[in-house]
Amino acid sequence: MYTAIKTRTITLIQAITDALDTMMEEKSEVLLLGEDIGRNGGVFRATDGLLEKYGEDRVIDTPLSEAGFVGAGIGLSVNGFIPIIEIQFLGFIYPAYEQIMTHATRLRMRTMGHYTVPMVIRAPYGAGVRAPEIHCDSTEAIFTHMPGIKVVCPSSPYDAKGLLIAAIEDSDPVLFMEPMRCYRSIREEVPEGKYTVEIGRGKKLLEGDDVSIITWGAMVPIVLKAAKEMKEKGVQCDVIDLRTLYPIDYEIIADSVQKTGRTVIVHEAHATGGVGNDVLAIINETSFLFQKAPVERVTGFDVPVPYFGFEDHYLPSEARIIHAIKKVMSF
């Protein structure tokens, strides 16, 4: 039996709006907080139209105080609400780091489940859009290290909507990272209404037997390009979009690496302490005997994300990915 599902061909940012709208419609506890999210509809228009539809009690333009409104979100959470907080750019989440690190993530444990924080923090991230400094950070690793929060990072409109709805339905805090570079660069058919994509599951984007490429977010399109180029040269890449950065899908990694024996990890954040190292740790633990070559990591360098005049040098490029693939293939 088939059910016709209505779909729309939309961008990633539209998929975000769609998810917010769907869940606000369904659950009156869902409310939005953030800077410029009301009348302005957010600097990327993620919340466009929602103030008009749901009113000022549910779409709250906050003062410029990330610690304050994340903290208030925690208070709303324990009082039965599901706050979805927009941090204007991931690079401006740092003032709220204490609130997330010491409360959002610890309240459940601290009270043995008596108080919980089913909060979603949305944050556009990443370089490559010629934005000013600090607007371009990709600092997921300072959250994946923090017990008590899940970290999600979609790369496509379909996943964005499904994962955001899953995040809103999750009983625990979720950091929802949105790759700015993909906001309007990809269009895809997305079902109307509610559906979820499971948090904690990666997705195979390309099947190949030679080398596993593990990546996420804004790096996905670049990895796919590199993989296509390598295909022409006869190298078959197994491309995995992790989608969730904590808890990482270790099965999809282990299955792939046990098949190929060669791995390239690609991410935008710095190498040292990057989430790529967690992938490495999973490979070490699950697939030691299958490895035919050291894992290669293609990452942002161990330098602050530079000003946009230099950002193309900072970001992993097709050329660097191809170089790494060749390296693991020829080990």
Binding site: R58, G75, N79, P83, M112, H114, Y115, P247
Partner: protein, 360 residues
Amino acid sequence: MESQFPILQIMDCNGQIVSPMYKEKITEDIVKNFYKQLLRIRLFDRKAVSLQRQGRIGTYAPFEGQEAAQVGSALALEPADWMFPTYRDHGAAFVFGHSLRNILLFWNGRNEGCVPPSGKRIFPPGIPIATQIPHAVGAALGEKIKGSNHAAIAYFGDGATSEGDFHEGLNFASVIKAPVVFFNQNNQYAISVPIEKQMNTKTIAQKALAYDIPSVRLDGNDVFIVYFETLKALERARKGEGPTLIEAVTWRYGAHTTADDPSKYRDQIESNNRRVETDPLLRLERWLKNEGLYEENWIRQIESDANQEIELAIAEMEAFPKANPADIFDYVFAEPTWQINQQKEEYLRLIGGEDKCIRR
């Protein structure tokens, strides 16, 4: 500014009524309850200090000297209100209905201590200074959105006013008119840092001017003024008139915590003088005597009741089941992640069979 924010008082140090404010509301019943609660939490506090010395609980933060501020404010709350205490406000939490056993468990390093009795909306004691202030604002905003008439109270010290979270919380609350009372206990020290190094202002109350919210400065050792002014602030909150800042000027007699040595940074003579002159309990005793309501027997009775209650709680705390190592894994997420499950399994396997209590 000091003249704009005088320290309000109803009862002076001699237990004399010096202001006609709220006169008709000061009934024998209410005062006897004040006294009972003051005594109850003082006895508890002293006992806790001695438990720490005996190694029966961990580091403890005593509040002796600040009882009137805690009792007066906590009694002003309605049962369905929210309380956001700090590590020094277990007196208030106790008066508001927290479980004494759990309070002790908290100081013994057990998470059970953070769980309030069912129906009581008490937050775990705030450890990172001032961070609980935005929580109170959020909870209060929630009540406002729900259209209830419940309010929230956030406790914090003089030192806390220097943190960004204090400012961000008060500013946000002022904009959204959140039904919240910001209750400051100005005990004039943040560990060793005296208020003159903490701020350039002589009062904390005046900080409300930065948010255009009402504030009041009061004698935090006068349980009457604390109670009635907190009640008034809560009423404003319930009526949708937004937040209030209360500065209760007080003093801790003892150390910051049992790990602290106050003689390093202040002359304890001041504390001893205050014990004699401005003590919240003595003062209320003087009032009772002045009014002819002081009854030795009644006092013995409430004292012995309180001691019994405290001993019972200690016994319960000490009889409490040993920490179950599984607990550290089971409450991080609603559903543990695979990492946590794997770590838990491995660890429990490793310590299994043994007494589950590892030593290093």
